[in-house]
């Protein structure tokens, strides 16, 4: 009998104090763990004045780290766009054996600690590794050099684009592509005129996330880079080195660039989400 009397929906029943309490907890948590550190980053970065801030960024080692990070991103992001589109296309639109295995493998970098991913590359390409002696004999440095950093970053970031596209392409199905084909479009025309326009915002979102992670990756890169100043230090590694040298203001100056990237990513992300829901 008691069950027969239907309870009102939870949202209606929750008293005002509970709603306020929950919201407050969330906001305080956010302020403490996100906003406060962000303020600290910029406060520390500017503690010795604007001049010192820009000097820290113009330091040759810092510039080298920025250049290396940008180079890595310039290689990794396009590579992952190509890989992500191919993987998402085949998973969403074809039937083939090993499909579920591929889907699982794409998630692997999310499941594995970045340090382990870095170590794997050291074991495969390092001086004592499987291909190490062969590579050293031909004077192709991978570990403690740029190729290793690119490889490790690619591995850590490859799920972003594919993960974003797979559900989108699965939801859209293949009928539009089939239509294009019956209308006489070639494979390329179908991709450029039908598939790509349908996935462009999802793809852009994936690229933004992939880019942010590629710039900020620390663990895997740290293992393979060897921390050679001015040569194999990316921005996150350079921040760590400056910090260990007790150059707090310098460390935070470089860190502030990464923080700005994070803020820009958030803005782009909300813009894309607004585009995806706001227009037909």
């Amino acid at each position: 009998m008691r069950l027969a009397r239907a309870a009102p929906p939870r949202a209606v029943r929750d008293p005002a104090w509970a709603r306020w309490a929950l919201t407050t907890v969330a906001l305080v948590f956010l302020a403490f763990f996100l906003v406060l550190p962000l303020i600290v980053v910029f406060a520390e970065a500017f503690q010795k004045g604007l001049g010192y801030y820009f000097a820290s960024i113009r330091d040759p080692d810092a510039l080298a780290a920025i250049r290396l990070t940008l180079l890595t991103v310039a290689i990794v992001v396009p590579a992952n766009v190509v890989f992500g589109v191919c993987a998402a296309w085949s998973i969403a639109k074809f039937r083939f054996p090993g499909k579920s295995l591929l889907t699982t493998l794409i998630d692997l970098p999310f499941a594995v600690s970045p340090v382990i991913s870095g170590l794997v590359y050291v074991l495969v390409f390092g001086a004592q590794g499987w291909f190490g002696p062969w590579l050293i004999a031909r004077n192709i440095p991978v570990i403690f050099a740029v190729p290793g950093i690119v490889l490790a970053t690619t591995f850590v970031t490859f799920p972003f684009v594919a993960r974003e596209l797979i559900p989108l392409m699965q939801a859209q199905g293949t009928d539009e592509e089939y239509s294009a084909v019956t209308l006489g479009a070639s494979g390329w025309q179908t991709f450029w005129r039908v598939t790509l326009p349908n996935i462009k915002w999802g793809l852009f979102y994936g690229v933004v996330l992939c880019n942010a992670r590629a710039m900020g990756e620390f663990g895997a890169v740290s293992v393979v880079s060897g921390h050679i100043r001015g040569e194999t230090n990316t921005m996150p590694l350079h921040v760590e080195i400056l910090y260990n040298d007790y150059n707090i203001a310098g460390a935070f100056a470089v860190a502030s660039l990464l923080a700005l990237l994070a803020l820009a990513t958030l803005v782009l992300k909300s813009f894309v989400e607004w585009r995806q829901t706001g227009t037909p």
Partner: protein, 351 residues
């Protein structure tokens, strides 16, 4: 252009979608592929379009006598309309219709002015010229279906293939649109095949109906032929309501004895509800005695549920409302049933 399919087989893994199917569609006809879901009709349509291919070595598809079995869809000059429209969602209605012309190689491509002119003429043809600037998401189901049709016609196809063209529409729009399609076909005279699971739709608008069941073609004929002379129990049951009676109970029940000739070897007689004549019990003395169990009088005809006195089996009869009024029927009244037209089939058949 005529379409022929010869000995088509298609398996998906262990599932047989088509098992040696032949089809012959004469030039300029509107043909329905009719069957329950899973009967293979959509697969056959997609094979004709070139979106699927028959199992290697199994059969051929011929357009106007030319073998097109190995040609890809884009080279067959077919217009294909998908059940869920498959319009390009990021393109306007106009761009959708112009697509097939825009993707042609440069030397075959019409000038922008003539593309535009042709797209607008097609939109006029499907009565949508005012909506050229809209996006698919802003159109109703019926409008989307007509855009899909205009888009398919833009490439001047030699045959038109429609996959459940009205399947996703509500009942009213569906009726309007199928009559429109019939008139439209009479106007453009393009060989057309459409797939449907709705027998009313197929019988109403097709020149010829191809009835499919379990990867086979059961019967081919005009709507009247397949309805009046069904080739198998399946066809009989698929095309309308049916009563199955046991022959021994029918002594003297048939109005015109011997017209349907042979007694059924398996003892089963098929009769449609509207072929059952209901008479007062005291009138003649021949016919099946039955008791009225339920009268359903809402609608154009009255449907009676009757119970045979001898076998206690139920029979459904359909009579006009004026007959119902004349007979003054009521529930639990005893009546006699006579069968105007019956069918029997040689083979054993289970529903």
């Amino acid at each position: 252009m005529s379409i022929e399919a010869l000995g088509i087989r298609k398996k998906f893994g262990a599932y047989t979608a088509l098992d040696g199917v032949d089809l012959n569609v004469p030039q300029g006809k509107l043909v329905a592929l009719l069957g329950p879901s899973g009967s293979g009709k959509t697969t056959l349509l997609r094979i004709i379009a070139g979106l699927e291919f028959p199992d290697p070595g199994s059969g051929r598809v011929l357009f106007h006598g030319d073998d097109v079995t190995d040609l890809p869809a884009g080279k067959r000059r077919v217009g294909f309309v998908f059940q869920h429209y498959a319009l390009f969602r990021h393109m306007s209605v106009f761009e959708n219709v112009a697509f097939g012309l825009r993707v042609r190689r440069r030397r075959d491509r019409p000038s922008p002015a003539s593309i535009s002119e042709r797209a607008h003429r097609l939109l006029e043809l499907v009565q949508l010229d005012g909506l050229a600037g809209r996006y698919p998401s802003q159109l109703s189901g019926g409008e989307r279906q007509r855009v899909a049709l205009a888009r398919a016609l833009a490439v001047e196809p030699k045959v038109l293939l429609l996959d459940e063209p009205f399947g996703a529409l509500d009942a009213r729009v569906r009726k309007d649109l199928r009559r429109w399609l019939r008139r439209f076909h009479d106007e453009i005279q393009l060989t057309t095949i459409f797939v449907t699971h709705d027998q009313e739709e197929a019988l109403e608008i097709a020149d010829e109906v191809v009835i499919m069941n379990k990867a086979h073609v059961e019967q081919v004929g005009t709507p009247q032929q397949v309805y009046d002379r069904p080739a198998s129990p399946f066809v009989y049951q698929f095309l309308g309501n049916v009563n199955i009676l046991r022959a021994p109970t029918l002594a003297g029940a048939r109005s015109r004895r011997g017209e349907q000739g042979v007694e059924a070897p398996n003892g089963q007689i098929y009769v449609r509800p509207h072929d059952i004549e209901v008479t007062p019990h005291d009138a003649g003395g021949t016919g099946i005695s039955a008791i009225v169990r339920h009268i359903h009088a809402a609608g154009p005809h009255a449907r009676l549920l009757l119970e045979q006195v001898q076998t206690r089996e139920h029979v459904e009869a359909e009579i006009s409302r004026s007959e119902l009024a004349e007979l003054k029927l009521q529930v639990n009244v005893l009546v006699r049933l006579r069968l105007r037209q019956t069918h029997s089939f040689d083979e054993d058949y289970a529903i």
